[in-house]
């Protein structure tokens, strides 16, 4: 095995490096999120090339990036993909290892039904075509955390293919605009995971844990850049990324200025054909083809325990985010980007819906308060929705007060801040304590307006002269006179009437 394709890692936790030498092609960062049951999805963002953040100088050609992601996700199940041993987070090392997991000679794999169902669900949720017949293969390479010397995967004919996912990209000023994008899902396959390697650099040794359960999502990014219209460039791979932030960073850093410096290295390694790892794929002989059925192809009298019905699984799928977003837009008239934000924060949609249930206020008002004020406070203090000091009922009550014009919007913000302090008071209590109620007496307000107008004839003149800022000054003066207890909207109405505007 000669030099493999160049792989590199950045600063940050859990990066993987591969030594570009004649030895091992896989050195995984420690500790990795190794899992026993995996769904691997491959996608490529080929339609919308990622543009560099830097402006291109005059005369320079533009670069376009092509990104492919290999996503490894652990299936939530009680036992492993091919053996009956348990899956448990943070169990002592090597305590959940069956004979098959240890690859003792003579042991055989048995497919876990739950994992197949999970893979079908994932395929359906990602709009894939589910292959009614899929095959298992062996992918052969030597590494300490792979006791069998091969990995069972689905290379040739995986369980699901040709799907897509719509996601939102934040753009525009202040990143407030959300643009929907589509990514293609090439295939989804079931595969076995390797063990966990723990590198002890001090003692120059590596410890292996064959439990294989860490509950993580892991991504390998494949990136290349090219001039639009020309063939794709050299592929660079970054392995074992476990957050969107690091993923974005990695892709972002594969941009032109840095690219030049290691471009030469890349071309050298790719020119060397011997350098590519040949995994010597072979059909897995111990697992027959995986056959799935749907309502039309299900054999009569089939034991439901023995077969998997795709249509049945489809019925058990929860409402998918794209459908939910569509409903929100239709029902509440909110902008699409708002629907993305609502769904992207865990628990926020539920919070929103609870507020809607309890308040008379308009949905648009609720949306604005939840996404701007509420979410803003959460982010500032790095809290999850579940940790919020303000309950949906409290916010609903506050919005009712606002809606009934009992308080002004600035007063409402004050109340909200008080609520956030967790003193256990209701909005009503806060309003009365701080005397934030709006002046309800129309007559008294008219009187005040009149007196202010008389006190400031110059401003009145400006208003009459259509100076747009003048009226705001008047409103401000009246408000001051009422100690901010008057609704500016009402003040404006009265003033305009008086001035016959």
């Amino acid at each position: 095995m000669a030099a493999p394709m160049l792989r590199w890692g950045c600063r940050g936790r859990r990066w993987a490096f591969a030594r570009v030498d004649g030895g091992s092609c896989h050195r995984r960062g420690a500790p990795t999120g190794s899992t026993s049951n995996r769904i691997r999805g491959e996608s490529s963002v080929a339609q919308q090339p990622l543009h560099t953040a830097q402006k291109t100088r005059k005369g320079e050609h533009k670069w376009a990036a092509v990104v492919g992601l290999e996503i490894h996700a652990q299936i939530s199940s009680n036992s492993k993909l091919f053996s009956g041993s348990q899956v448990r987070f943070s169990a002592p090392p090597n305590s959940l290892v069956s004979f098959f997991d240890a690859s003792l000679p003579g042991t055989l794999p048995v497919l876990n039904r739950r994992c197949v169902e999970a893979a079908v669900m994932t395929g359906l949720a990602l709009n894939c075509h589910i292959n009614k017949k899929s095959l298992f293969d062996r992918k052969h390479y030597f590494y300490a955390d792979l006791p069998a010397g091969y990995q069972i995967t689905q290379q040739r004919l995986p369980i699901a293919v040709n799907g897509s996912l719509i996601y939102g990209v934040c753009a525009g000023k202040k990143q407030s605009q959300v643009i929907p994008k589509t990514v293609r899902i090439k295939q989804i396959q079931l595969e076995q995971d390797s063990g966990k390697s723990l590198h002890d650099n001090l003692r120059s040794q590596t410890l292996i844990d064959l439990n294989r359960a860490e509950g993580q999502l892991r991504v390998d990014a494949n990136i290349s850049v090219h001039h639009p219209g020309e063939p794709l460039g050299v592929r660079t791979e970054v392995k074992n990324l476990n957050s969107i932030r690091f993923l974005a960073k990695a892709i972002g850093e594969c941009q032109l200025p840095l690219l030049v410096s290691f471009f030469l290295l890349c071309t050298m390694s790719m020119r060397d054909k011997e350098g590519k790892q040949d995994y010597r794929f072979m059909p897995e002989p111990n697992l027959p083809p995986l056959v799935l059925y749907d309502a039309t192809s299900l054999p009569a009298g089939a034991d439901p325990q023995q077969v998997i019905n795709i249509d049945q699984i489809r019925e058990t799928l929860p409402e998918l985010p794209s459908v939910t977003r569509e409903k929100l837009v239709q029902q509440y008239g909110m902008l699409l980007e708002h629907s993305f934000t609502l769904l992207n924060e865990v628990g926020l949609l539920e919070f929103f819906q609870n507020v809607i249930k309890e308040t008379r206020a308009e949905p648009k008002k609720v949306t604005s308060w939840v996404l701007n004020t509420f979410l803003g406070y959460l982010k500032q203090q790095n809290l999850a929705v579940s940790e919020s000091p303000v309950t949906p009922s409290a916010l609903a009550e506050l919005l009712d007060l606002l809606d009934s014009r009992t308080i002004s919007s600035s007063a409402a913000k004050q109340v909200f801040e008080e609520l956030w302090k967790r003193e256990g008071k209701t909005p009503g209590q806060i309003v009365s304590e701080k005397q934030l109620e709006l002046m309800q007496d129309q007559g008294a307000l008219e009187q005040l307006c009149h007196s202010v107008m008389e006190a400031h004839p110059q401003v009145v003149m400006d208003v009459k002269n259509r100076n747009p800022r003048a009226i705001n000054k008047l409103i401000g003066l009246v408000r001051k006179a009422t100690q901010s207890r008057a609704d500016p909207v009402m003040i404006k109405e009265i003033l305009e009437k008086k001035l016959s505007l």
């Binding site: 000679p105 003579g106 072979m282």
Partner: protein, 454 residues
């Protein structure tokens, strides 16, 4: 086996006595290298329990108290399982292969683990690290040229009632050399969980016994069944098996066997299996590829031999595997890896998988090219047997006649998948017609003692 079972039931001999006789026989014939591990304590313990049952007339069936030997590729809990390789020397599995408890549930005695070609790769029974199975019990050769027992379940054959395993002919081959009945069940009929596999798609447990009835019992096909109704049979003779290397004597016995069936009213026709000549090549490609990947787990880290540990991992893999695998195994692994390389995949592996499986009634062919072969002239005898393995069909090899030199000639029947029962009824009928002298224990002992004194 039935006679022995009857003797046990009638109290003519106790299980413990029987067991001890077997054990002493094994010790006397140690030069045959038939056994790698003799599980003396375990067997005697089981014998004592069997004895109790017979005393109280609670015997559990025909296998109760009968000593059985198991090829050393079957995982036996608590008993060393080596596959005749340095790689697994000292490996004591923590679990049993599925067939083992099935036999033990019938209260058979596990007398030991038999010798084989390393990892069951080989057809001579000569390539195991524990020494080749030197003597075919029929050898009357006076000089030091000993006869091979056939492989790869050579030790099982020498043990005379045993579980072998069959990838390409590894049960029938030694059976043929040693004058036994060798039965390879349909792929899928008998579980191969715990059988350390050579090639997953072809490996099955195989049975080696002295007569067809015994084979049926051991396979636990339950009960003896009658003889086939030969007049309703169609026996097919594949003409591709008539190869130039076939000894004329064997050919004549083959012919006589066909006549025998015809005289009883069976239809005997010549047929063609056109891909026969390709199958050995396909077999080699599939087998080596399977071997390469099955051996990948033996890297020195988990349960196998490990070389000096103060070296980087990759070097450790290389040294361990160099030290602990013999030349034949290494050769197969290298070939297998070659065939599986991306560039070779289409040309070799995919083509090999397209080997033909035809629809059959009962086929009759010789098992090996000639009679039991002397070591110096030993050739690969898989040419006849492996095609059947690739198709997953059941087959049985039974002794037909004695050649001029007094060596056994075997003929073989094979059938549709899962028609094992019918196959055995045909074999049983033939066995009865031929009345081949089944090897007698006493006769064998006499032969051996005469050899020792030489």
């Amino acid at each position: 086996m039935l006679e022995v079972s009857a003797a046990l039931k009638q109290g003519q001999i106790t299980p413990t006595e029987l067991c001890q006789k077997c054990l002493s026989l094994i010790k006397k014939t140690k030069f045959l290298h038939a056994y790698i591990t003799v599980s003396e304590e375990v067997a005697l313990k089981q014998a004592k329990e069997s004895e109790k049952r017979y005393k109280h007339e609670q015997s559990l069936g025909d296998l109760d108290g009968i000593p059985i030997a198991v090829k050393d590729t079957f995982s036996t809990s608590g008993i060393e399982t080596t596959c005749a390789s340095n790689m697994l020397k000292g490996y004591v599995p923590p679990y049993n292969a599925r067939v083992v408890p099935k036999l033990l549930d019938q209260e058979a005695l596990l007398i030991g683990k038999t010798n084989l070609d390393e990892f069951a790769i080989g057809s001579g029974g000569t390539d195991g690290v524990f020494g080749p199975r030197k003597q075919n019990p029929h050898s009357k050769n006076e000089d030091s040229d000993w006869l091979i027992t056939g492989g790869s379940s050579g030790g099982s054959a020498a043990a005379m009632s045993a579980l072998g395993s069959a990838t390409g002919g590894s049960t029938r081959n030694p059976a043929a050399h040693c004058r036994f009945v060798g039965f390879k069940p349909s792929y899928g009929l008998v579980s191969h969980y715990g059988l350390i596999l050579l090639v997953n798609l072809m490996d099955v447990p195989g049975i080696l016994t002295r007569c067809v009835d015994d084979a049926a019992i051991v396979t636990l096909l339950n009960h003896l069944f009658g003889l086939a109704d030969v007049s309703k049979l169609c026996i097919e003779i594949p003409k591709e098996y008539l190869v130039p290397e076939l000894l004329s004597e064997v050919q004549s016995f083959w012919s006589k066997a066909a006549d025998l069936f015809e005289s009883e009213g069976a239809k005997v026709i010549e047929v063609s299996i056109p891909h026969t000549s390709y199958s050995i090549v396909c077999y080699h490609v599939s087998c080596t590829s399977g071997v390469a990947l099955n051996m990948a787990r033996l890297d020195g880290l988990q349960c196998s031999h490990r070389c000096d540990t103060d070296v980087p991992t990759q070097s450790m893999y290389a040294s361990t595997r160099q030290e602990a695998f013999n030349d034949v195994v290494r050769g197969r692994i290298l070939s297998g890896n070659l065939f599986l390389l991306k560039e070779n995949w289409e040309n070799y592996f995919i083509k090999a998988q397209k080997s033909a499986t035809s629809h059959l009634d009962v086929f009759l062919t010789p098992t090996i090219l000639s009679e039991a072969v002397p070591y110096l002239e030993f050739i690969k005898n898989y040419i006849f047997t492996q095609a059947v393995n690739m198709a997953g069909l059941p087959a049985v090899s039974i002794p037909a006649a004695l050649s001029n030199q007094g060596l056994p000639v075997e003929l073989r029947f094979f059938e549709h998948a899962f028609c094992d029962q019918q196959l055995l009824t045909v074999a049983k009928w033939f066995e009865k017609q031929v009345q081949f002298p089944v090897i007698q224990l006493q006769e064998f002992m006499d032969d051996c003692s005469s050899m020792i004194t030489q």
